[in-house]
């Protein structure tokens, strides 16, 4: 049974369709990253899931219970907000205790000073104090418990917000860009921590981010949303190595994928320089427009030889372990980005003439509507490669 299932969620704001029928599921204990450029509807989807917005149509099932009509308070969901949304008038300890106080104490028990002597009440309060302290200890924020949010740094607030969300066991854990207000160093550190906390708690998590690196590095599965549609939901490596849509390929990967417009030749054959690949579906008519995608790390730059597309080096970025080479293709004028090792890139200078090539197995073919077309390297090519070497 899935821990969480969203089916065909639609939402419009004033005639503007924000979510165009999104379906998503999460297994128990799974960490799903919902990633996409800003304005793609990922935060709206999260809010609908939390019950803070209502969908125009679609079903939400959490642990086998249909919750579309259930109030946010009764969905048993915890959320970390981008702004952290800590209660400014409460200390860290009180902030963390709020969800427990609201859920474990009865209405009369919550009235201050009225029933401190009621049997059971003291024990409940003591339990809450203990759980808050344990949670704080596991996040290393014990020393902050008496401070108010105004007296904390961004990173400290983020931890308190995490603690408040994790202190009870929710059915689903939602995070709305919790790291985007932290500085770069802290962000990388916090990534690892959140993954670790998730593993310990084992609660299914939906994590919204616009940072593809964050999504790839943290999630069990990544859901890429563009323009209100969920284009692909797959493990990070599949998203990267086997994108099913041109927008997914463009969004994921840094530096971004190279895209070259091309045409289908006879029999579904597509040529890029000397390389040829063939489409699985040979019915596509000749001269159909397609787009070829090649990841920068699969672009080979050679300074001599006849093979490959002629180009000139535009700009070189040295990043230590690798070199990013921006080249301009002669004739077409398109920019191609290549990621090479420092050894391969040694001696390259801007303005130098080079030849660019990529082996056919690393070429993605996308149709005119952006969907991926199944393709394979052409067999002759493989034979020739074997002969040459």
């Amino acid at each position: 049974m899935s821990a969480l299932t969203l089916t065909n969620i639609q939402k419009s704001f004033g005639g503007n369709q924000i979510l165009k029928g999104v379906s998503l599921d999460a297994q128990p204990g799974e960490f799903i990253a919902l990633v996409g450029p800003s304005g793609c509807g990922k935060s709206t989807l999260l809010r609908i899931l939390a019950g803070l917005e209502t969908a125009d149509s679609g079903d939400i099932v959490i642990e086998g219970r249909e919750v579309s009509q259930v109030q946010a308070a009764d969905r048993n969901i915890a959320m970390v907000f981008q702004s952290y949304a800590l209660y400014p008038h409460l200390t860290a300890a009180q902030n963390i205790a709020v969800p427990l106080v609201m859920r474990r104490l009865t209405r009369t028990q919550r009235i201050p000073f009225v029933v401190p002597l009621m049997p059971g009440h003291r024990k409940a309060v003591a339990d809450i104090h203990r759980d808050v302290r344990e949670m704080a200890a596991s996040l290393k924020i014990d020393q902050l418990l008496d401070r108010k949010p105004g007296q904390m740094s961004g990173g400290q607030r983020q931890r308190v917000a995490l603690a408040r969300a994790m202190v009870r066991r929710p059915a689903v854990f939602l995070m709305d860009e919790p790291l985007s207000n932290l500085d770069a160093n802290l962000r990388v550190h916090a990534r690892g921590e959140i993954v670790e906390l998730h593993r310990r708690a084992g609660v299914p998590t939906v994590y919204v981010t616009h940072d593809q690196a964050e999504a790839l590095s943290m999630a069990d599965r990544v859901a890429v949303m563009i323009g209100g549609s969920l284009l692909q939901l797959a493990p990070p490596q599949v998203i990267y190595d086997d994108p099913q849509h041109i927008e997914v390929a463009k969004f994921v990967g840094q530096p971004r994928i190279n895209l070259i417009a091309s045409q289908v030749e006879e029999n579904g054959i597509i040529a890029l320089g000397a390389e040829r690949c063939v489409l699985a579906d040979r019915s596509l008519p000749a001269d159909s427009q397609v787009t070829l995608g090649i990841r920068p790390e699969f672009v080979q730059v050679s300074r001599s030889g006849e093979a490959g597309l002629p180009a000139h080096v535009d700009r070189i970025e040295f990043l230590g372990s690798e070199i990013i080479v921006y080249c301009r293709l002669d004739g077409i004028g398109e920019t191609m980005i290549a990621k090479v090792t420092p050894a391969e890139g040694a001696g390259l200078a801007s303005g130098a003439p080079v030849r660019l090539s990529a082996s056919a197995e690393h070429i993605f073919v996308f149709g005119a509507d952006g969907t991926r077309l199944a393709s394979a390297p052409l067999a002759e090519n493989a034979i020739r490669e074997a002969v040459h070497g």
Binding site: M79, F81, S83, M102
Partner: protein, 278 residues
């Protein structure tokens, strides 16, 4: 230019401010002075700020004994407190709903609030009077309090304040398991003290000093508020005994003046309405 140095601009600024302060304070100062003068002293042709014979004790005794001052002050406190509490209890949920909840009538209600701001009490006084008369509720606390129980000004003030509160705070509260009433009691009110303080000042000052409405609905001295009591005192007892009258006025204004002096900083904070900080 040192901040404490006496340069020309600073001298000019301070002189203008001091002059303004003297003008505004003059009547009150003169009242304090008159409260200490004997009858003969008041009606001399010369204008003295310092009384020639100190008559404070006599005048205050007269003021205290001739009107039932404790009743007046008690009525004032009760009426102001009841008005304030009911106003706040009604206005905060109203303003919260209009600021943060989405419902269809929100715009229409906003228009009604604006309209309400435009209608003065004087316009509705007569129908209200007739109404209270019909149900036999004249000369009661209810008649003094009820017309002011819903303050559109209060709703408007809180509305502006709540709009500036982050939505995420309320979302977080809902996810933490709070009902809408819980959100108001546990999140909105604790963070709205600046607005509540500001509103309390406006409300208490207005209703403590109000003469118009008590004059209409109260004819029994037992329910007289301080300004009304003063009026009775002047009409019935004092006649031209201005010394005692000024002493009575001093007594009646002293609670507000005292409250202001004690909580001066809070008052200013409340009126400038500092926003929420993260």
């Amino acid at each position: 230019m040192s901040p404490n140095g006496f340069n020309f601009g600073r001298v000019v600024r301070l002189s203008i401010l001091s002059l303004g302060a003297v003008v505004f304070l003059a009547p009150y100062i003169f009242m304090i002075s008159t409260a200490g003068k004997a009858q003969s002293d008041i009606f001399t042709s010369s204008l003295n700020l310092i009384p020639q014979h100190w008559f404070y004790v006599e005048n205050f005794t007269k003021a205290w004994s001739r009107v039932h001052m404790p009743t007046l002050l008690f009525n004032g406190v009760i009426v102001c407190l009841m008005i304030l509490v009911i106003q706040v209890v009604i206005a905060i949920p109203c303003a919260y709903a209009m600021a943060k909840l989405k419902f269809r009538a929100a715009k229409a209600m906003m228009v009604l609030v604006m309209l309400g701001l435009l209608v003065p009490i004087h316009a509705t006084a007569l129908p209200l009077y007739v109404g209270f008369d019909r149900i036999g509720a004249l000369n009661s606390y209810a008649a003094l309090v009820a017309p002011f129980s819903i303050s559109v000004f209060g709703i408007f003030l809180f509305l502006q304040f709540f709009r500036a509160m982050p939505d995420d705070l309320i979302h977080a509260a809902r996810l933490d398991g709070m009902s809408e009433i819980g959100v108001i009691a546990r999140v909105i009110v604790p963070n709205a003290w600046p607005a509540i303080t500001a509103f309390s000042i406006f409300s208490v000052v207005a209703h403590w000093n109000d003469l118009y409405w008590p004059l209409i609905v109260v004819s029994n001295q037992a329910y007289a508020t301080p300004p009304l009591g003063l009026l009775y005192f002047r009409a019935a007892e004092a006649g031209d005994d201005y010394g005692a009258l000024m002493a009575a006025t001093l007594i009646i204004t002293s609670p507000l003046v005292g409250a202001f002096l004690i909580a001066q900083k809070r008052f200013v904070e409340g009126i400038t309405m500092t926003g929420l900080k993260g």
